[in-house]
């Protein structure tokens, strides 16, 4: 009878212990990433985990920022996929899984799946050159992919390249990159170096129609519109001055004529002067 009570008390104690254990929260084990490689291709389509529970929260930290993920549960665990199809700054990342008070971390390496869709970024400095000062141009260029990763490529031996180039002295608007208007740079005309001068007498108006042009710089470029041309003439007793601005490489003035007077005319742009010509009606 006494032996029976001992067995009975052991059984009751064991049942009580089992009850206590069953009341405790079971620790959630770290989910097992089924992919053996820590290198993850981005965008992530299906990253599978074997795990318990269905209340996981997942975040993927790329070097730049968190990447939003979706969780789909399966019979044996869950899998993660990316909410968007975009790439990231490649390199180290951290996958963070949490369920209640349990946090688990996985060091991963992120590589963009779409491969190196790269472009050359070509910056020129200065944006505007003038043959009067220098035609020398600094060129900075590097290769960058669509997710803003700076990469090495065939065109750029290192990550960054720099060279000094000499531009041809031909006036124009050029582009460092054909498809990018923001990469434009400008070669402007230099100072005027030659001033051809012609004059025709207009009998109806009694004026000389004077044309200075084509006005060219040292490299045979037409001078800039708006260049001021001074027309200086004298009749032996008085001297006169008129000014006009160049348009399409020439400037014109109409000089009124008094009968029986001969004028001596010269045109000037800054220090450059034309040959003298005589104006006889």
């Amino acid at each position: 009878m006494r032996g029976f009570s001992i067995i009975q008390s052991i059984l009751i104690s064991a049942a009580f212990l089992v009850f206590l254990v069953s009341c405790q929260n079971k620790a959630i084990q770290k989910p097992i990433m089924l992919s053996k490689s820590p290198v993850l291709s981005v965008p992530i389509n299906r990253l599978e985990f074997s795990s318990e529970g269905k209340n996981w929260d997942a975040r993927l930290y790329s070097f730049g920022q968190p990447v939003p993920l979706k969780i789909q549960y399966t019979e044996t665990g869950f899998y993660l996929s990316q909410k968007n199809q975009s790439g990231v700054i490649q390199g180290p990342g951290i996958l963070y899984l949490s369920a209640g008070k349990y946090d688990y971390f996985y060091d991963v390496s992120l590589v963009n799946m779409d491969g190196p869709t790269t472009m050359i970024s070509d910056y020129r400095s200065p944006k505007t050159v003038n043959p009067d000062s220098s035609l020398s141009h600094q060129k900075l260029f590097f290769t960058i992919d669509r997710w803003r990763n700076v990469v090495k490529s065939d065109q750029t031996a290192g990550y960054f390249e720099e060279s000094e180039i000499s531009l041809p002295p031909i006036v124009g608007i050029y582009r460092a990159q054909e498809t990018d208007p923001l990469s434009s740079y400008y070669v402007q005309p230099g100072s005027c170096t030659s001033i051809p001068l012609q004059a025709d007498f207009n009998m109806d108006k009694s004026t000389f129609h004077v044309v200075a042009g084509p006005l060219k710089d040292a490299y045979n470029n037409q001078v800039a519109d708006g260049t001021v041309v001074a027309f200086m003439y004298e009749d032996g007793a008085y001297s006169f001055r008129m000014e006009a601005t160049a348009h399409n490489g020439s400037a014109t003035v109409d000089i009124p004529v008094k009968t029986n007077l001969t004028y001596t005319l010269v045109a000037a742009v800054n220090e450059t002067k034309s040959l003298e010509i005589q104006l006889n009606p």
């Binding site: 920022q65 939003p68 700076v150 720099e162």
Partner: protein, 182 residues
């Protein structure tokens, strides 16, 4: 006639009321009136070495150092919260577009925090007009603080492209060249 006049006045009041509703009221202050608390609170140590062909003066280097520190304040904030808007003044349009792809909503719950403790910026190229800077940032010491308090310190090498736009330097491109645990 009086009724017609009253109707006309009502019509006029209605018109002005509806016009007033359509005016967009911009709550965001202009940049020069804003106080950038994230940048102000951020502290790091930055050493700068110039390997560029162009000689740089102290003023240019100080400006770069200040902007680079502010930029990292915002990069860390972006890393923690995915708040892409707070640091938009320190990103070029291309960089902003890239990070906007991953924007869902700012993260409110605590996650991993990152601090940048030290930088050694080696300027490789500097454009003669002062608008482009390329650099390697060697041995950047980063501290990650995990939920629960665990910390991990690592060292990374970076390649960065900065463009001077508006009135400060902005991040245009970045590459992680190497990462080592400390």
């Amino acid at each position: 006639m009086r009724v017609l006049f009253g109707f006309f006045i009502l019509l006029l009041i209605g018109f002005f009321f509806l016009q007033g509703r359509t005016i967009q009221r911009v709550a965001e202050k202009p940049v020069f009136l804003r106080i950038d608390e994230i940048a102000n609170d951020h502290q790091t140590h930055i050493d700068i070495a110039v390997h560029a062909s162009i000689q740089l003066n102290d003023l240019a280097l100080e400006g770069l150092k200040k902007d680079y520190s502010n930029l990292w304040g915002h990069l860390n904030h972006l890393y923690e919260t995915n708040d892409i808007i707070a640091g938009k003044e320190y990103y070029t349009e291309a960089w902003y577009k890239q990070i906007a792809h991953h924007y869902a909503h700012p993260i409110d719950e605590p996650g991993i925090k990152r601090m940048d403790l030290k930088h050694a910026l080696q300027i490789q190229n500097w454009s003669s007009d002062g608008l482009v800077c390329t650099a390697f940032d060697r041995n950047v010491i980063l501290k990650h603080i995990y939920p629960g308090g665990r910390e991990r310190i690592s060292s990374v090498d970076l390649a960065v492209v900065l463009l001077y736009q508006g009135d400060h330097w902005r991040l245009d491109g970045l590459s992680v060249l190497d990462e080592k645990p400390q």
